[in-house]
Amino acid sequence: MAANPMSQFNVYRIGPEIKVGDIDISFTNASLFMVISTITILLIFNFGAKRNSVIPSKIQLLGELSYSFISKMISDTAGSKAKPYFSFIFSLFMFVLFCNMLGMIPYTFTVTSHIIVTFVLAAFIFIGVTIIGFIKHGFGYLKLFVPSGVPMVLLPLIVIIEIISYLSRPISLSVRLFANMMAGHTMMKVFGSFVVSLGIVGGWLPLSFSVALTGLEILVAFLQAYVFAILTCIYLNDALNLHH
């Protein structure tokens, strides 16, 4: 079982089976790591927000730097109108980041390596952004699909392409995160099993590769959280400021 690189993605029940009607909502290892991520984020930022000194402590600095980092990201990509959605994007970024990062610890479970989790997040963002767009612009939001300055001949084609690209947003958003996390963790597992199978004679190469891969995966974990958040900002920007 340990040799199977996909077994790390298995979800299993922790504790009793909980059923609401026909739906199974038992507490699983995935739920456990969602809870751990949430608690970690809340603890870190709670300590980071607690005391206020002119020269911040390390944990306070962490909180404030994250705050200004995301606030700058939002204002750069979506402008000042996106201020009300700051908390959501902050939570989103932190949730994805901490799920990714906690997944880098051996023997943990990576919540974001499950398509259903990333898809629910992406679908929520997609639906939310669409609703915001329609609230802000009414049916004028449909102008998003009609770029200006396109020859009349090409217009039907362009509109179809735009609609398809718009509708594929949740899929691309969710699959990007899920595939990155799954591929990275699978690779690490595969190279780890190479180290074991090649033994002390030939195991050094995959081991060194594994070390390099760990660094890369930490980078990817951060980058994917960042990409997830910034794409959310860009979609939000489309909904808030109709530029086309």
Binding site: N4, M6, I25, Q60, S87, F88, M94, S113, I115, V120
Partner: protein, 192 residues
């Protein structure tokens, strides 16, 4: 470049072998819908709590902290600027005071020098006067003595000459004739 391609294809091969093995032994657990509802449910719960706590409690605090720090830093800068201006003004005042006191000291010095010079001059004049007076008295005395001395000399000369004549020739000579001779001689001397 070539090595890299070989290496990459090897990696892909091993990966695909592993993935195929995995697929054979049950496939990707991600695509098994058994726990999908549970994951959705717990995602909504945890993310909801995270969002609520962050947006209602923690983020406003951090934002406040940042604002407070910003205003505090601005205040401090302002205060520092003010204090700098104050100290500059004080420095100027201090310089002025030093300049003033220097001038004053100069004045005082000059005044006292003048006073001293005056005093010295006065005393000098007084001394000069006194010296002049003394000199005049002394000169008068000398004059008197001078005036009196020829008579005395004549007298002495007459006496000595009478004595000499007396001893030489043993006879007293008429005083008046001697006197006449002496006065004559002394007059001759005077004219000489």
């Amino acid at each position: 470049m070539f090595k890299q391609i070989i290496f990459k294809s090897l990696v892909v091969y091993f990966l695909s072998v592993n993935l195929i093995q995995a697929a054979e032994s049950g496939g990707m657990p991600q695509l098994d819908p058994e726990f999908w509802y549970s994951q959705i449910f717990w995602l909504v719960i945890t993310f909801g709590i995270l969002y609520l706590v962050l947006s209602k409690i923690i983020l406003p605090k951090i934002s406040d902290n940042l604002e407070i720090r910003k205003s505090q830093v601005l205040d401090n800068l302002e205060l520092a600027e003010k204090q700098r201006n104050d100290s500059e003004a004080k420095l100027k005042e201090f310089d002025n005071i030093i300049l003033k006191s220097k001038i004053e000291a100069k004045n005082l010095f000059n005044e006292s020098r003048q006073k001293l010079l005056n005093d010295i001059n006065k005393k000098k004049e007084k001394l000069d006067e006194e010296i002049d007076k003394e000199l005049k008295i002394v000169e008068a005395e000398i004059e008197e003595l001078k005036n009196k001395s020829p008579e005395k000399i004549n007298k002495i000369a007459i006496e000595t000459s009478t004595d000499l004549i007396n001893q030489l020739i043993g006879a007293s000579v008429n005083n008046s004739s001697i006197t006449a001779i002496v006065t004559d001689v002394s007059n001759k001397n005077k004219t000489l």
